[in-house]
Subunit: 247 residues, 2 copies
DNA sequence: GCACAAGTGC
DNA sequence: GCACTTGTGC
């Protein structure tokens, strides 16, 4: 079994968990809601006293000793109606809501990687919103097809066996953790299927705020061994790059 | 005290209640939800077997023996940014969400009208949707300013003293009932303030479906003594008639 | 895949 | 009050 040392990639103390941060939302659920005032859908205001950087999850990528890497599986079609597309140029994933997006990970490992995990955590990438917890909008949480699903409030779902949905009790951040499986014979890449359960535009949820996914490679003590960050846009037409849209 | 006889205006048996109808929604809440399929915001389908007319609330106006009538108070401003405007031409109220709309009612009554009530019930006016219960969208129900408000699921609110929010136990229809007060000295019109707590476009709620308000004059036995119907459109810019909108 | 609808930022 | 954004119907 291979086990390189824990590193943190920021030259600081290794995080014993990815959850060492706080969120400052508009309400108990850290969400922005429509019409806090009369008839105005408003975005959450930046908190008056900005939260210390340490309270915000790090999105600083670092391969770490395991040389943690990702790539995307082949996209279904290359037309404008594709369910998802990843731009290497911008490091941004465009996907429809609920589309299964195959993300492959690999690590440098001579033997069997045991007790390793992939954590997927969504964040708002803009500093004004990064302190807010990414949650689904009430409309989608309450939708019948999410009824009785325990993780229905989670924005990122992972279809892999063994995926575990966690909500940090102090911050309210929702993440999904899947065991890092051994790659199939003949490759070092392991595929994970992620889907995203709100649109970027969902009122009462993401509410048009730009997002990123933070993928961390962790050991069973939740020590971060490597980190990746991917920008994310969930929309009806991921095949249409925003700049191409006709006026 | 004046008390003309109960009439029904349809030449049929008087309704002993406005609630003698059923709703056939998409789910337990009679609502349309986003993405019943993958990534498609869909409207509710018309039920395969159309509901009998008797199960749908009547919106047939009739003044009745009391000569039940309405008019609108003076609108705040006549600019495009008005909070509400009523078109006599089309019998349609255009209003912003949460805007207080003053509706005046009058009845022919020589003495003191006692034990009379005004009921306001919202319906979807198109036959495809009339069987669905009008409720607020989950986003607005869950919004912090609606927390702890018992009638937060109601689409129509009435600000008058004595307003009572009722939900029919068999149909799930939500209505608000206010006592018919004596008009102030010098007029026969009594003013009621109504507000509408979702946009016409609210996903998971009205979801772009056209609506009407049914106002009924009732006695304390919920017998209908008169009925009025007003078409309704709740939107961000009620001052802009839909036809005027620039392309 | 286009044209429309309609809430939002500014 | 305009222009833009972006989900939706067709
Ligand atoms: Zn959503
Ligand atoms: Zn609403």
């Amino acid at each position: 079994m291979c086990k390189p040392g824990v590193s943190d990639g920021n030259g600081a103390i290794p995080e014993s968990t990815t959850n060492g941060f706080n969120s400052f939302g508009q309400d108990d659920h850290g969400r922005s809601y429509p019409d806090s005032g009369t008839n105005v859908y408003c975005r959450p205001q930046a908190s008056l006293s900005p939260s210390p950087m340490s309270l915000i999850p790090s999105s600083q990528p670092f391969p770490g000793s395991y040389n943690f890497q990702f790539e995307f599986g082949k996209q279904p079609k290359d037309t404008k109606s594709t369910a998802w597309t990843f731009s290497d140029m911008t490091n941004k994933l465009y996907a429809q809501k609920d589309a299964m997006c195959p993300v492959r990970f690999r690590i440098d490992c001579d033997g069997v990687a045991n007790g390793l995990y992939i954590r997927a955590l969504p964040i708002y990438s803009r500093p004004e919103h990064v302190q807010d917890v990414v949650k689904r909008c009430p409309n989608h949480i309450q939708a019948p097809e999410s009824a009785n699903i325990p993780h229905r409030e989670h924005f990122i779902w992972c279809e892999n066996q063994g995926a575990r949905y966690v909500t940090d009790s102090s911050t309210g951040r929702c993440a999904v953790i899947a065991p890092y499986d051994a790659p199939p014979a003949g490759t070092s890449w392991v595929t994970y299927l992620f889907s995203f359960k709100c649109l970027n535009s969902c009122v009462g949820g993401p509410n048009r705020r730009e997002m990123s996914i933070i993928y961390t490679l962790e050991n069973s003590n939740q020590e971060v061994l490597g980190r990746l960050s991917i920008d994310l846009r969930i929309c009806a037409c991921p095949g249409e790059r925003p700049e191409i849209r006709r006026r």
